[in-house]
């Protein structure tokens, strides 16, 4: 955006991306995986993960940072899927039904999350994270103790032997990859899940459109300055809640898309890492805590997952131990989040100081004593 290209500024702005590129560029040949395999995997993983990552965009726009509370949406999606599987609804119908069931749950959870985050202004991210933990407890209470007890579950096949509570692993045979296969297109050696891509494309269109709405404009405004927005008559708290609600609903749909591709669901664990992977992907894609764009999502998903594909093999080739590669990619992803947060916080302070630097020195420093 700056008129002259400044390599140092570019590096500082894209440090996380550059590090990831370098590491992956090194690891891809070491892994010895074929290009075809890697590319096919990437096509699959873009379809699987991109939607979830998109759910983080709006809260960032509204200045609330990364919505780690998106796992609430993931939980809503899982509950939807449990119901859809229990009722034996097959294929895309099952996915759509799961979304319809998950929607009110996600809206409700999103509203709660928004209210909670409004009470924790300035530390939304850590609060959202803990809220995810807390709601995980509630989720367990519902799924492990209430389903089949208070909430009727018809199918004994998905309940635990004690008669209530959902099994540890839920087979999603009835909906497995139904969206991916709805319109699977073969191009050369690759199979593309076109229907999934179309859903993601639709979401992109929605986000672009949403940015141009009044609500989108209000979100941008409160994201930059809550005080000014409030005095201009924008209802800050309400807008923040709406941002979180939309994010939660999108995460709900994203989790359903994710799980239909996986084909089974670790009932009590599937959502635990959702926030982490989405956040890591977005930040690796060059987004910051205050600014994220659609390209960031795609770059991030590709880069992060490229690393996740090649790293275990690279570790095995280099150290004779695939585990090293696995630990390494986890470490790098966590570090990417930490680094992105640090760069953001550090730059925020640096900018504030630079903004005031103009006032310093006065005329005395300039030697302008009259």
């Amino acid at each position: 955006m700056s008129k002259t290209f400044d390599p140092r500024k570019f590096l500082a702005d894209n440090l996380v991306v550059v590090i990831f590129l370098v590491v992956t560029a090194f690891a891809v040949p070491v892994s010895g995986l074929s290009a075809q395999f890697i590319i096919q995997e990437l096509f699959t993983r873009i379809g699987r993960n991109a939607f979830l990552v998109f759910s983080l965009l709006l809260p960032i726009m509204a200045g609330m940072g990364i919505n780690f509370g998106m796992v609430l949406g993931a939980m809503a999606g899982e509950i939807g899927l449990i119901i859809a599987v229990d009722w034996g609804i097959l294929g895309v119908n099952g996915l759509a039904f799961a979304s319809l069931v998950g929607m009110p749950i996600a809206v409700f959870l999103g509203w709660i999350a928004g209210e909670v985050l409004n009470r924790a202004k300035g530390r939304e991210m850590v609060t959202g994270y803990i809220l995810g933990f807390f709601m995980d407890g509630v989720y367990q209470l519902v799924v492990l103790y209430m389903m089949g007890y208070i909430i009727p579950i018809r199918s004994p096949a998905i309940t635990l032997s004690r008669g209530y509570g959902i099994r540890n692993t839920l087979g999603l045979d009835s909906v497995r990859q139904s969206l991916d296969n709805l319109l699977a297109v073969r191009i050369g050696p690759y199979v593309l899940p076109l229907a999934t891509y179309m859903v993601i494309g639709l979401l992109c269109v929605f986000i672009i459109w949403f940015r141009r709405t009044k609500l989108g404009q209000d979100m941008r405004a409160i994201g930059q300055d809550q005080g000014v927005s409030h005095s201009a008559g924008i209802s800050v708290e309400r807008t923040r809640i709406i941002a979180i609600m939309i994010s939660t609903v999108l995460a709900m749909i994203g989790q359903i898309i994710f799980l239909q591709n996986m084909g089974n669901m670790a009932t009590y664990n599937a959502h635990k890492q959702t926030g982490f992977f989405a956040a890591a992907a977005l930040l690796v894609g060059g987004a910051s805590v205050s600014k994220a764009t659609i390209p960031n999502v795609f770059i991030g998903v590709v880069l992060l997952h490229l690393m996740y594909i090649v790293m275990p093999r690279a570790g095995a080739q280099l150290f004779g131990e695939a585990q090293i590669g696995e630990f390494f990619r986890d470490a790098l992803s966590y570090a990417a989040i930490a680094m992105a947060l640090v760069i953001y916080a550090w730059r925020k302070r640096a900018n504030a100081e630079r903004a005031r630097a103009g006032l310093r020195g006065g005329e005395a420093a300039a030697g302008g004593v009259k």
């Binding site: 609804i89 097959l90 099952g94 319809l100 367990q140 492990l144 540890n168 692993t169 664990n269």
Partner: protein, 157 residues
């Protein structure tokens, strides 16, 4: 809010309609997407009222046809309520039969007897109750959760 102006009233009407559409959509998805397992068997009546078919090719909807010999039982998984079954006995000169039927909405499994169907005996579709509760319990015990929470990082992206 004292009185709704027409604009607001219209909006509330639209919202109400949409809520109804939402519910209707759920119902339609359920009805058209509900999966049913049809156990097709080819058994003779123990009392001898009808015989089993010697050999027949059975297909339901556009699914792959299956061959049935006496005493066979196999299953088709279908989506939705209305289906068409085609039974084509392999005996030379035998009449092929194609019937449309409707499955009961709430049932996961139904038993369809082609021998009854071909013989014209009723009912050739019955609700099937799985007799294998114990068997399933044993199968599930292996999968019961030991402790679902200590596992970390076992869900790949």
């Amino acid at each position: 809010m004292s009185k709704l102006d027409p604009k607001a009233a219209r909006r509330w009407a639209i919202r109400a309609v949409l809520a109804a559409v939402y519910l209707a959509l759920a119902v339609i998805l359920f009805v058209t997407g509900k999966g049913h397992t049809i156990l097709v068997d080819n058994k003779a009546d123990p009392a001898g009222a009808y015989p089993a078919l010697k050999a027949a090719v059975v297909s339901i909807g556009r699914q792959k046809p299956m061959e049935f010999y006496p005493g066979d039982r196999d299953k088709f998984v279908v989506k939705g309520q209305r289906h068409r079954i085609r039974v084509k006995p392999l005996a030379p000169g035998a009449q092929e039969r194609e019937v449309e039927f409707r499955l009961p909405l709430g049932q996961d499994m139904t038993l369809l007897s082609i021998s009854k169907l071909m013989a014209g005996a009723e009912p050739w579709i019955e609700v099937f109750v799985a007799p294998t509760v114990q068997q399933m319990a044993a199968e599930r015990a292996a999968d019961d959760l030991a402790n679902p929470l200590e596992t970390f990082g076992n869900t790949g992206p």
